[in-house]
């Protein structure tokens, strides 16, 4: 028995010795996150998942222009750009002397290659709307042609699909090779990736915007939200990505840690199904009853501790092209009951589909209570993300609540729920007036200024009249951090620009 005990002790100690990682000191930064980055090549044909929110891509690569924390476009790899009068050609003047992580200079060929390769991919088609081709004019000028004007196009250039990669490196290593050894022009280089554990970034001292102050960054995966907060307070991590508001409020009484919040590019909306077999099918009165019975302020207080902005259309107030003067349906229980009495509803189950373990599950539970109050037999179907996607795309729900991000921060994002073309999320979720809304959306892509806003107003008014959706709130992004860290800014896309950070 003694032998067994000492043998297992020896094995155990050996194993522990084998799993060593270097702990971060104060010339470095350790970030805690609940979402793991798995892809590092932004224009990989097999997709990049939700890498808008991944710190890695944002800091490994640059775009021609970038979206700052205020949601404004600022110069990056292009020092300036101009748009032709017909809106069909964007001319970018490239910054000189920009280097890739392998020391080679970024050229107009790299820009043309990156954009032309990105646009036909699934994510490119969704974000580089109306893109036709990119052409090199001379060593420092690139022109991008559109098939039809789209005023939100520049936001697409600033998104992950507009990230510039090295053509020379790609020609040498291909998609898989680039994924394994990513090279960008960003302020940080990728040093190592330990799946399920830590991702290590190192400052790129030849960065065109100046060498970053923080030399090494460790991004640690901490899935459990309670552990994330303890790790921050304990000093295991210096900065925490997207902690829930309720956790942040607890930090108010703690010394040495701070938290900040700001508007997100995401909005939380309940989408009603009009598919056959659901209570919302061919029953406007039922849908209007639901629309009037939802008390959004109660939801914002219950699920977000009051830290979110109520919305009445499926767009964040920060989106470009956000219309004004649209119809608003307020919370009115009396009216809701009248609508329900006039509807064909006979007490059938009205099921709200939501992803389990998210803040939206709580939103669904509050909505459930509010709908039950007016006599709707409402249930919540909280499932894991894979099942959620499956049921959503198959159109198997009475209503569905999710947070939808617009990487473009543009009003056009709302069209994702009213696509009349082949699109997985809407193929089985067509409303009687989807085509009409879609056509207005297409027209809005070509329009500019007030005319564009007017078209979006028309489109969202149809959604409100038909009660296809009950928009609830524009989300809030959060960051919690060691109070000695400076330059922390909440980005609407939930990412973080490490270049701006430094220690006091």
């Amino acid at each position: 028995m003694k032998k067994i005990v000492s043998l297992s002790l020896a094995i155990c100690l050996l194993m522990l010795a084998a799993t060593g990682i270097v702990l971060a000191g104060k010339d470095t930064l350790t970030i805690g996150t609940g979402v793991e980055a798995t892809k590092f090549f932004p224009i990989n044909p097999t997709g990049t998942n939700n890498n808008d929110y991944a710190i890695a891509l944002t800091n490994l690569y640059d775009t021609l222009v970038k979206l700052n924390a205020k949601g404004e476009i600022e110069p990056a790899l292009a020092t300036s750009y101009s748009v032709s009068a017909d809106g069909l050609c964007y001319t970018f003047t490239l910054r000189e002397g920009v280097k890739f992580h392998d020391g080679s200079l970024m050229t107009a060929d790299d820009v043309v290659f990156s954009l032309n390769k990105s646009a036909p991919l699934a994510s490119g088609k969704a974000l580089l709307i109306n893109f036709d081709r990119a052409e090199k004019v001379d060593a420092k000028t690139v022109k991008v042609y559109l098939t039809a004007p789209y005023s939100g196009f520049i936001n697409g250039i600033a998104s992950r699909v507009g990230m510039i990669v090295s053509k020379k490196h790609y020609d040498k290593v291909g998609d898989a090779g680039y994924e394994a050894k990513p090279i960008g022009t960003g302020p940080y280089k990728l040093v190592s990736v330990v799946n399920g554990d830590t991702l290590t970034l190192e400052a790129f001292d030849q960065y065109w915007g100046g060498a970053p102050a923080i030399k090494k960054v460790y991004v640690k995966l901490i899935p459990d939200t309670a552990t994330q907060i303890i790790a921050l307070e304990n000093g295991d991590i210096d900065l925490l990505m997207s902690p829930p508001i309720s956790s942040c409020l607890m930090l108010d009484t703690r010394k040495g840690v701070k938290w900040v919040y700001g508007p997100s590019a995401g909005r939380v909306t309940m989408h009603l199904s009009t598919n056959k077999g659901t209570p919302g099918h061919d029953d406007l009165n039922f849908r209007r009853a639901v629309q009037s019975a939802v008390n959004k302020q109660d939801i914002i207080i219950g699920a977000m501790e009051g830290y979110a902005t109520q919305i009445d259309i499926d767009m964040c107030p920060t989106y470009s092209g956000h219309p004004e003067g649209y119809k608003v349906v307020g919370y009115d229980v009396k009216k809701a009951k009248e609508y329900l009495a006039a509807s064909k509803y006979k007490g059938e189950e009205f099921q709200i589909l939501v992803q389990s373990g998210t803040i939206y599950e709580m939103v669904a539970q509050i909505v459930q209570a509010q709908l039950m109050e007016i006599g709707i037999n409402c249930t919540v179907n909280a499932v894991d993300s894979a099942t959620f996607t499956d049921l959503w795309y198959a159109g198997k729900f009475g209503a569905m609540i999710r947070n939808t991000n617009s990487s473009l921060l543009d009003a056009d994002g709302f069209l994702n729920f009213y696509m009349a073309t082949d699109y997985a999320p809407t193929n089985n979720n067509q409303h009687p007036r989807t085509k009409e809304i879609y056509d207005i959306g297409l027209e809005a892509r070509k329009a500019q200024g007030e005319a564009r806003k007017e078209l979006y107003r028309k489109a969202v008014d149809i959604v409100t009249d038909e009660a296809y959706a009950v928009p609830i709130f524009a989300s809030t992004n959060t960051l919690a951090y060691n109070s000695n860290l400076q330059g922390v800014e909440v980005h609407p896309l939930g990412t973080l620009h490490l270049l701006k950070l430094s220690w006091k």
């Binding site: 060593g20 097999t46 974000l127 330990v194 459990d224 552990t227 304990n234 993300s385 894979a386 997985a424």
Partner: protein
């Protein structure tokens, strides 16, 4: 005995085939299309169909399974559909964390649980017995996530003695091992006590005492060894379950082990990772069970293996 071991190992092959087939069928029936999940919402129907064909998902489930097992028999466990890493290498990289966690948890449970169980039995109905019962009930009924969280709050935040998450040093494993071992300790304690009580009531114990053997000799030489058979079985089962079953502890303490690998793969329908991990865990559990059976013969020479 050699023949017995070979027989058991051959049997393990059928067990693994049975388990993997079962898991493969369940995964195939579960909602969630891996191709859609990999490509995201922007993918067109053609993109998805092309990826499904590339991954072999367009073939009947049984054919998919046979293709998979065929590759496994050649030593190819495939790569993760989502992240592209090699399943076998990833498993080997994470295995030390899970083994370290499981072994420490078991040591904690065994080294505390068994002696406490013995004392509780020989001092039946004393204050020690009652206190050990209270301890066992408390440890057994605490959910792992809660126990983990409270211990983090106390030892990491209040006292600042231990890190709250991750791996790296021995200190990182102390709290997770206590959390994982708490439940096992409780069952070890009660199992040892019950088993000891059965044995010390036997005639041969009375005989040993009548012959003038010291209490220490009676307990350690005559009673303990005889009462260890059910306890050893329990230790084996608990250790094996630590391999794939420490999901909650690994998640609360952010330990990149087998449990978290498996749970993330299941969530994203990453079939090569799920299948590969299940095969490794099944083989590991099979081998642990075999070792436990072999240990029986060492503890109780009356046990004979059917050859």
């Amino acid at each position: 005995m050699f023949k017995y071991v070979i027989k058991r190992l051959l049997l393990l092959i059928f067990v693994v085939i049975g388990i993997t087939l079962f898991i493969y069928l369940i995964l195939s029936a579960a909602p969630g299309d891996p191709a859609q999940l990999i490509l995201g919402m922007d993918a067109t129907a053609e993109d998805i169909a092309a990826l499904r064909a590339q991954l072999g998902l367009d073939k009947p489930v049984l054919i998919q399974y046979i293709n998979y097992i065929g590759k496994v028999l050649k030593g190819d466990f495939g790569t993760s559909w989502l992240s592209g890493y090699n399943v076998y290498q990833e498993f080997l990289r994470r295995l030390p964390n899970t083994i370290a966690l499981g072994t420490l948890a078991m040591m904690f449970a065994v080294l505390l649980g068994i002696p406490l169980g013995i004392v509780a039995a020989i001092r039946q109905n004393s204050i020690v017995d009652y206190l050990s019962l209270a301890l066992a009930v408390i440890l057994f009924s605490l959910p792992a996530f809660w126990f983990g969280l409270i211990s983090q709050l106390f030892f990491c935040l209040r006292l600042g003695w231990l890190p709250a998450s991750g791996v790296g040093t021995f200190k990182h494993f102390i709290l997770p091992a206590l959390t994982l071992g708490a439940n096992v300790l409780a069952s070890q304690l009660r199992m040892t006590r019950t088993s000891m009580l059965d044995v010390i009531k036997q005639d041969y114990i009375r005989t040993a005492r009548a012959k003038g053997a010291s209490e220490r000799r009676v307990v350690l030489k005559h009673a303990l060894r005889n009462s260890m058979l059910p306890v050893v079985t329990q230790v084996g089962i608990s250790y094996a379950s630590c391999m794939g079953g420490s999901v909650v502890t690994e998640s609360v303490f952010s330990i990149p082990g087998i449990g978290s690998l498996l749970i993330n793969a299941v969530k994203s329908r990453d079939i090569p990772v799920v299948m590969g991990t299940i095969i490794f865990v099944a083989v590991f559990v099979g081998i642990i069970n075999l070792l436990v059976d072999l240990l029986y013969a060492y503890i109780d020479p009356r046990v004979k293996f059917a050859e």
